[in-house]
Symmetry: C2
Subunit: 398 residues, 2 copies
C-alpha cells in the first residue's frame, strides 16, 4: 500500500530539510535556515526546538550581527552518536567507528588468508566489540552497524553468494542484530563504496555516480538520481561479468569474455605470470610488488599496467554510454595503481566515448584509499538512524 500524506509526513519532511540545511551549512542561524529553505520563521523555530531536544543539533554562541540583533548559531551535533562500518575483504577485515558526520574516530584492521566463515565472524565480533567499547559517551550511543561484503546481497540483507569467500546463503544480518541489539545493514561492497564516494568523496554534489570497485574481481555500484540503485532483487552492478569480447575466454561465471578477465587485479596478476614476471608460486605475486616493479622502471610491468588501464577504459566507456553519469570513480585495490593506469585509460575514453557524453564528465580514482566501503555502510547506518529520528518519538512505556 502506498504511503498516504498527512501532517506527520509534512513535519517529518520539513524537519529533515532543516537538519540537512544545518548539517551542510553550519554554523547557521534560525532566520537563515528559514529564508533559505522557504519555511516560516516560526515553523523553523519549532522544528529546531525538536532537534535540540533530540540532541541532534546544538546552539553555539552568538554569531556576527548584520546590522541588528546577533543570531544564535546552530550546529549539527556530530558527536550525538556513533556508527560502525565493517568492510569484509577477501583477505582483510576493516572496521571503523565514525561520528554522525562520518568522521573516523577509530580504525581497526586485520589481514588473514583462507579463513572460514566462522573464523571471520569471530574476527568481526571482536572488532565490533572493541569499537563499541571505545565509543565515547553520547546521547544516542552506537546507532547501528553496517557491513560491506564482496558478494551478492539480496534485498533482505541475506548474503546469497560471495564466491571469493566461498560463502553462500548466510543470514549475517540476523546474527548481528541478535548479538548486538542494534540495526544492521548488509550491503554489497561496491554499492557501499559508491555511497561512500558520494558522501565523502570528490563529487558530493553529483546525482549520478558510478563506482567501479576493481579488485580481485570487478563490481560496480550505481548512484542514480542521488540514490543507490539496487535492481529488482538487489543484484545490479554485476558489470564484472559484462561481455567485452564475444568469443573470449571462459569465465568461471559461465559467460565468455567478461570484463573482469581483462581489467581486474586477478587478470593483471595472471598476465604477469604469463609474461614471466613472476613464477606462479612466487610469494611476491601481488599488486603492491607489481607497482614497485613499475616504479623501479621495469618496462614490462609498466606495459602490463598500460594494458590494464586500456581495458578498464573499455568497460568505463560502456558505463558512460549506458548511464551518462557526472562521475565515474575507480576504487578498491586497483586504485592504488592509479599512476600507472590513468594515462592509457584516459586515452581510451577520450578517443572512444561519444562526444556529447564527454562534457562535464569526470573520471577519476578514489581518494578515500581503502575506506569507501566501510564509510559507505557507516553512512547508510547513520542515514537510517536519522530518518527514524525525524519521525515523532513514541512515549516509552514501562
Amino acid at each position: 500500500m502506498t504511503k498516504t500524506w498527512n501532517h506527520q509526513v509534512v513535519k517529518e519532511g520539513n524537519k529533515s530539510l532543516v537538519l540537512d540545511k544545518i548539517k551542510n551549512n553550519s554554523p547557521i542561524s534560525r532566520a537563515a535556515v528559514a529564508s533559505q529553505i522557504g519555511l516560516n520563521k516560526g515553523t523553523v523555530s519549532s522544528l529546531v526546538s525538536d532537534l535540540l531536544d533530540d540532541h541532534l543539533i546544538y546552539e553555539s554562541g552568538p554569531g556576527e550581527s548584520s546590522g541588528g540583533r546577533r543570531p544564535v548559531m546552530l550546529l549539527f551535533n556530530d558527536l550525538a552518536g556513533y556508527a560502525i562500518g565493517i568492510d569484509i575483504g577477501v583477505n582483510y577485515l576493516l572496521g571503523v567507528l565514525t561520528d554522525l558526520s562520518g568522521n573516523i574516530q577509530l580504525k581497526k584492521e586485520c589481514s588473514f588468508k583462507n579463513l572460514s566463515y566462522e573464523e571471520i565472524k569471530e574476527k568481526m565480533f571482536s572488532t565490533i566489540d572493541s569499537l563499541i567499547a571505545s565509543a565515547p559517551d553520547s546521547p544516542h550511543g552506537v546507532v547501528g552497524i553496517g557491513v560491506g561484503v564482496p558478494g551478492v546481497v539480496d534485498k533482505d540483507g541475506e548474503i546469497l553468494l560471495a564466491p571469493n569467500l566461498k560463502w553462500r546463503n548466510l543470514d549475517l544480518k540476523s546474527v548481528l542484530e541478535e548479538k548486538y541489539g542494534l540495526p544492521v545493514i548488509i550491503e554489497n561492497e561496491a554499492n557501499a563504496g559508491a555511497y561512500g564516494e558520494k558522501r565523502f568523496g570528490a563529487g558530493q554534489e553529483c546525482e549520478n555516480i558510478i563506482y567501479v570497485s576493481a579488485g580481485i574481481g570487478i563490481g560496480v555500484g550505481l548512484i542514480l538520481n542521488g540514490t543507490l540503485y539496487k535492481g529488482s532483487n538487489g543484484f545490479s552492478g554485476e558489470l564484472g561479468h559484462m561481455t567485452i569480447q564475444v568469443h573470449g575466454p571462459k569465465c568461471r561465471c559461465g559467460n565468455e569474455g567478461c570484463w573482469e578477465l581483462y581489467a581486474s587485479e586477478q587478470a593483471l596478476l595472471d598476465t604477469a605470470v604469463q609474461s614471466g614476471l613472476f613464477a606462479s608460486t612466487d610469494e611476491k605475486l601481488d599488486l603492491p610488488h607489481l607497482i614497485q616493479l613499475a616504479e623501479s622502471g621495469n618496462e614490462e610491468a609498466i606495459a602490463l599496467f598500460k594494458k590494464s588501464g586500456d581495458y578498464l577504459g573499455v568497460g568505463i566507456n560502456n558505463i558512460v554510454n549506458t548511464f551518462n553519469p557526472q562521475q565515474v570513480v575507480i576504487g578498491n585495490r586497483m586504485a592504488s595503481a592509479k599512476n600507472w593506469l590513468s594515462e592509457s585509460l584516459n586515452e581510451r575514453v577520450a578517443n572512444q566515448a561519444l562526444w556529447f557524453q564527454q562534457n562535464d564528465l569526470i573520471i577519476g580514482f578514489s581518494e578515500l584509499d581503502t575506506l569507501p566501503t566501510a564509510l559507505g555502510v557507516a553512512a547508510f547506518t547513520i542515514e537510517n538512524f536519522l530518518s527514524v529520528r525525524m519521525q515523532p518519538q513514541q512515549a516509552i512505556f514501562s
Copy 2:
C-alpha cells in the same frame, strides 16, 4: 531549492493517490478507495468531489450491495481530454490521438525517404492539425503533444543529434509550443518506447524495465524504480555503442566493436549482402523481405537471423548483469523478426547470464507493434497534464 512541505502538497499527493486508485480499479466506491489507500472516508469524499468538479472522474449508477447501502461507483473519465503522440522514424512518421487512458482514437501514418527537416516538419504539422481537428469535444480538449525522435535529446527537450535524420541542434519543442500553444514533450525514441511498454505493454507492474529499441541502430530506454532514467544530461541508454568486441570493426561513432554493429537491423542487412543473399543495389534489401525469405525456408536467411539473435543475447546479458531488471523488452523493427530471433537469443541468455539473475526475469518482444514510442510520448503528455491538474487551480482573471 528543495521543495518544502505544506498542506497543499499533502492534498496534491492524496488527490493523486485517489485518482490513481480510481483509474486502476474502476469501478470503485468512495468507501473502497478510503479503506484501500488508508485515508479517512471524509477526506476521500472531499477529494472525489474536487475530481468530479474537474471532470476527471464521473459517477456511474449504484453498484452491488455487500449487505448494506449500495455504493456509488466512480470511474476515470477517459474522455475528459486527448493527447497527441508523434513517432518520427527515419523513413516514416506516425501520429496517434489517444484518450487520457492511452486508448488510441485515431492513427495517422506516412512513409517517406530522405526528407529534409523542413519537409518532415511540414508532414508533422499536417498530421497534428488533422489529429487536433478530429478530437471529439471534451472538457479539457487536447492536453499536449509528445514527440519521439531517433536521436539524442537533452534535458531541455532540444534535439542535439539525430544521425540517421542528419539533424543537429534543433529546438523543435519551442516551434511546436508556439504554433499550437500546448505543452510539448520531446523525448528520445527508446526512452519513450520504454515508457510506452511500461504503461501499455506486458509488465505494467514492473518497476525496472529495459526497452531495447533495435532498428537501424540500437537505443535503449531505462525504466528504473518505476521512472525513466535519463542520466545527467539526458544521454543515457546509448547502449548501441557498447563495446562487445574489444578490437572489433570501427563504428561510425569512433568506437570499435559496438553492439549495433552486430545486432541491429543494419548489421543484419549488411551481412545479408556479404553472404550474397542480396546485391547491395537490390531494391528488396530490407527486413520484411529477409523475413519472407526465412519463412519460405531459406536456410541462409534463417542462419542470419539466428546469428543476430545470438548477438542480441550478448548485449542483453550485459543489460541483465547491469540492471537486474524484471523485464527486458525488445522493440522496434527487429521485433518483427521475433520468431526467427528468439531461439538463439534465449539460448545465449540461458547459458550465460548469472544464475541468480535468471529468477523472475522476463525477456520478450514488444507486443505493441510499432506503437510503443508514440504511446509513450502520449503517456508522458497525459501524466504531465494530470499532475498539473492535481495542483489547486488558480482563479482565472480576465
